[in-house]
Structure formats: structure tokens, C-alpha cells
Symmetry: C2
Subunit: 184 residues, 2 copies
């Protein structure tokens, strides 16, 4: 009987532990140990929408592009608790083309195919001082669609950070577009 009880306790622990390991692992493990940045698999079906951006068409009404930004569920929970991104937070920004048409709502644009991704990975420890894709607290990389493992960017200082200067006070991230981070 005693063995049965012990085994029942083990069974219960396994039942609790497996989902916990899968769904509540620490985020620091999401920093690639070798500093090689890639587009995470299944971010679009397993992660949370942070926010969306549209870029106005220069010639006619409507949007010429969308930026759609995702992060891990744990990053949202951590930010709500602590007011900052955790070590290992990953932001994936899809670049999407658009289509535009007239509907009852007005001139409506919607995101169509993805053309590329920007990926940022929070690094609070300054792990990769010799890697020009890492610095200022983040890893920074761009990928063309279809090549999620091969960044085309060489140096975040010349190719990435310039567009983030208006967001420097928010750890380089445009959190103004991500109200989910502060919603309770």
C-alpha cells in the first residue's frame, strides 16, 4: 500500500510537472547560447499579438504595409508585473504586404503575404560583446520571408537601431503601440 501511495504522489507530480515545464519555463533559455538569431517556429500560432502598425500608402488612401508584432505569453505576464521586458523576451515583427478595397466601413486594407521579419531578443547580461548583431540590451536581426534561419543584417548599429531612436526611452521598443503590456 505504501508503494502505491508513493507512486500516486509521483504520478500527481509528473502530471503537474509536465505542463509546468512546457508552459512556464524561464525565458532566459530563449536567448540562443551561441548568439545566432533565428525566427522562432510557430510564433504565429503559439504567441501573443503585441500590436499592429500600418504604413500609409504615399499615393492613395489605404495602407501600403502592416507591421504585426508578437511575443511570448510569458513576456506579457512579466512586463505587466515588472514594467520591463524580461531577459529572453523575443519580439517578432512581421512585415506584410496589404490589399485595399472599398467596404461598408470605408477604404479598408488588410495584411496579406509576409515579406520578412525583424526579430529582437532581450539580453540583460551583455552576453555577446563581440557580435555586431547584439548590443544596447538586445539582439537585432532581419530575415527575408522563407529564410527564417539566415539573417541578412550584419550590424545593428548601422542597420537597425536608427529607426528605434524615438523609442530609446522605452528600452528601444515602441511600447506605445502595445497597450496589452500594461492592461490588467
Amino acid at each position: 500500500m505504501r508503494i502505491r501511495k508513493i507512486n500516486a504522489v509521483i504520478a500527481a507530480l509528473i502530471a503537474i510537472a509536465i505542463p509546468t515545464i512546457i508552459f512556464a519555463g524561464p525565458l532566459s533559455k530563449d536567448v540562443p547560447p551561441d548568439g545566432v538569431i533565428a525566427v522562432p517556429k510557430n510564433y504565429d500560432t503559439e504567441w501573443v499579438l503585441l500590436g499592429t502598425w500600418s504604413i500609409a500608402d504615399k499615393e492613395k488612401a489605404g495602407a501600403e504595409g502592416f507591421h504585426v508584432v508578437y511575443t511570448q505569453p510569458k513576456t506579457v505576464a512579466y512586463f505587466r508585473e515588472n514594467g520591463e521586458f524580461p531577459d529572453g523576451a523575443i519580439l517578432v515583427k512581421e512585415l506584410r504586404k496589404t490589399n485595399t478595397t472599398q467596404l461598408t466601413t470605408g477604404t479598408v486594407s488588410w495584411g496579406s503575404e509576409i515579406t520578412g521579419w525583424f526579430v529582437m531578443i532581450k539580453d540583460k547580461k551583455g552576453r555577446f560583446t563581440d557580435n555586431p548583431l547584439w548590443g544596447d540590451g538586445w539582439g537585432w536581426a532581419y530575415f527575408n520571408f522563407g529564410e527564417p534561419n539566415k539573417t541578412t543584417t550584419q550590424n545593428y548599429r548601422t542597420e537597425c537601431i536608427g529607426c528605434h531612436i524615438p523609442a530609446k526611452g522605452d528600452d528601444w521598443i515602441y511600447v506605445r503601440g502595445y497597450p496589452i503590456l500594461t492592461r490588467k
Copy 2:
């Protein structure tokens, strides 16, 4: 020893069964048994982004509103497999205000506060023939922000379906804006 083996098998089965029950339950249970439609809790942190829409500002460059649409992860998996929405599929469409500014990318708009939600629930069985919020295979309802349990709509035929006529051939849903449903 034999008891231990049996118990080990039971432990393994429990470990597999618990996540399965939690994460793979049938979607039909998501149809409210009484036909009362509400905005699902935590759709924004636990569900999948289906797609985003922008409505062009009539007076100046940029978007005056965003529609951001979510569904359950299981609905995406089912649609990819079967090419149609499952019974119990729920679509939540946030209506968001926007802000617009000039950034290096151009005239950029981003979603800010939510003003309301449209909710649709797939009903393949025609459950609620006497309820004017249900019909044509769906439940249809609108909610003002802050009142996720109190729909303001009375009749989907006069208040909802009109805007969906261009999508009638796709089961009333603008699937053209949801490439995730057909992506592998």
C-alpha cells in the same frame, strides 16, 4: 514489481491525459448552451491572431481605425485540416482607435485603445432558431468596451450581416485577410 509497473503506466497516462484534456477539448463546448454571447476572457493573451484590418482616415494620410481579429488555437488547426470553421469556433474582432505619426518608415498608425468588440460563434447545428442573434450558421453580437457581457445588438439580420455580404461565399467570414488559416 508488477504493481510498480502498472502504477508507472498509470502515471504516464495521467501525465499525458491532463494536458490533453486542458488543451485539446472539443470546440463545440464553446457554443454557449443558453445562446447568450459574451466576449471571451483572455482572448488577447491566450488566442491566436487571425488578421488585422485598417480603415483609412477620410481626411488625411493614415488609418482612423484598426480591426484586430482573434480565434482559438484549435480553430486554426481545424481549418487548416478541414478548410472550414469548426462548430464552436469563436471570432473576436477588436475595434481599436489609432494614433498616427511620422517615423522613418513613413506615415505610421498604430492601434491604441479598444472601443468595442464584435463576437461571432460558429453554430453548425442551428441551435437557437428563436434567438435573433443567431442564424446563417453563426451567433453575431457587438459589445461596447467595458461591457463584455452585455451585447447592444438585437438582431443580426438588420445590424450585422449586411457588412458581411461580400464574404458570403466564405461562410460570411473575410478569410482573405486570414492567411494563417491556409498556411502550413
